[in-house]
């Protein structure tokens, strides 16, 4: 094998390998965690976060505007303190609300942000004033059954 031929094929091999890497990087995956310089942090306290996980998306009107950075228990008030890394481009008013939603019936849980009407915007380190907790399916079913049973007693004694 001549030197030039080997060089050519090794070069082609390197190009093909890096092309495969680029394909994996650009077409197959996304950089979900934005660089720290392009984010600002907000916190939100929830009574119950359900199955929310770190790295879950934060969406506003369905658009991903950030990621869940950390989840911990506030041991003073016993609520879950969720730290959000928000995209620098998106700003929300001071009276915005955050709620934990589920995509689809069994899908992953995410945080939905609904903006308010206040002119003052949330700064880095601020906390959402209005939050609503995750829907826990068991609680929902038990509440439904309870009200059903109570309703049965009064409305329809026996057929």
């Amino acid at each position: 094998m001549k030197r030039g031929t080997i060089d050519f094929w090794v070069g082609l091999f390197a190009i093909a390998g890096f092309a495969a890497l680029m394909f994996l990087a650009l077409k197959v995956s996304t950089l979900s965690s934005l660089p720290a310089a392009q984010t600002y942090t907000l916190t939100a306290n929830f009574e119950n976060i359900g199955g929310l996980k770190v790295r879950a998306p934060v969406k506003s009107a369905g658009v991903v505007v950030g990621r869940v950075d950390a989840i911990e228990l506030d041991t003073e008030r016993y609520v879950a303190r969720v730290t959000l890394a928000m995209d620098q481009r998106y700003r929300f008013s001071r009276d915005s609300s955050a709620e934990i939603l589920t995509s689809g019936l069994l899908g992953e849980q995410y945080i939905g942000v609904t903006t308010g009407a206040d002119d003052v915007q949330l700064k880095s380190g601020d906390t959402f004033k209005i939050t609503s907790s995750a829907l826990v399916l068991e609680q929902l079913i038990s509440r439904f059954l309870f009200s059903k049973a109570a309703g049965d007693d009064t409305a329809t004694p026996e057929k």
Binding site: M1, R3, I6, D7, W9, V10, L12, F13, A14, A16, G17, F18, A19, A20, L21, F23, L24, A25, K27, V28, S29, T30, L31, S32, S33, K53, V54, R55
Partner: protein, 264 residues
């Protein structure tokens, strides 16, 4: 009785000490390779030839295997996913299993049997025909001239081949999922992009393949260098390279996976 006990302990201990000595020898061999690696950098021609042998000649088997693995994954995954009405998640299944596990692991197994065995056989034969000894006579260090370039060639080739395996596999999954089974192309790619994280999945897969590359390259050159200088010795060493590499790859994969993916 004490004599019998003594012999039993010897029978138990001998294979153990043999392996320990060999492991220690392999570690010192690795250090010696690293010490003599400077020549590889100053003479890239040697390295290019080894990348040609280990990498370029493995491209065909790696790409074709990747394509087939991806196609099988798509067929099997579709069969299960459509029972839950989740067939649009096929892209996620194919991409995650390839990028995280199958690309690095199956790619490494193929690389060990395709390139690792060839490296062992070549070094073993050079030793048997006393070419290594002849080099030493000419004041050429065989570690720097023969072993180190092969070692580095293997390490450089492995991650590139694993990336190719994953890419070809995902392309195979696309062929079966979108072209044959008629899934929506847009949701195939977008769901995949949504679920596969570059740092967590792709980069960790590459890190895995680098570790596998180091393991395979070291085992291959060590078994070749350590082979008894007979025809039988070389054949045993070649077999041992493939078997040991396969075991080490799978064990190492478990350890790396346990560190990387803890289900955070």
């Amino acid at each position: 009785m004490p004599d019998q006990f003594r012999r039993f302990c010897q029978w138990l201990g001998a294979p153990l000490t043999d392996r320990l000595i060999k492991l220690g020898f392999a570690c010192r061999f690795l250090l010696a390779i690293l010490r003599h690696s400077a020549v590889t950098l100053t003479r890239p021609r040697l390295l290019l030839r080894e990348i040609w042998f280990a990498g370029v000649l493995s491209v065909l088997i790696i790409s074709v295997s990747g394509l087939f693995v991806g196609m099988v994954l798509a067929l099997q995954g579709y069969d299960t996913l459509q029972r839950f009405g989740a067939s649009s998640s096929l892209g996620i299944l194919v991409a995650l299993s390839l990028v995280r596990e199958l690309g690095p692991v199956v790619g490494a197994l193929l690389f060990a049997s395709r390139a690792g065995s060839a490296i062992t056989a070549e070094i073993g034969l050079m030793k048997t025909t006393e070419q290594l000894a002849a080099m030493e006579m000419m004041a050429v260090n065989p570690l720097a001239r023969v072993i180190a370039p092969k070692f580095w060639g293997g390490i450089i080739s492995m991650p590139l081949l694993a990336a190719m395996f994953s890419a070809m596999g995902i392309f195979g999954g696309y062929l079966i999922g979108v072209q044959l089974l008629g899934l929506d192309e847009g949701s195939f790619w977008s769901q995949m992009q949504g679920a596969v994280d570059f740092r967590l999945d792709v980069v960790n897969g590459i890190i895995k393949s680098v570790f596998f590359g180091i393991a395979i390259a070291l085992i291959a050159v060590f078994e070749g260098y350590d082979a008894p200088p007979t025809a039988e010795g070389v054949s045993t060493a070649t077999t041992r390279t493939v078997v040991t590499s396969a075991l080490v790859i799978l064990a190492l994969d478990f350890i790396l996976t346990a560190f990387m993916f803890r289900g955070v």
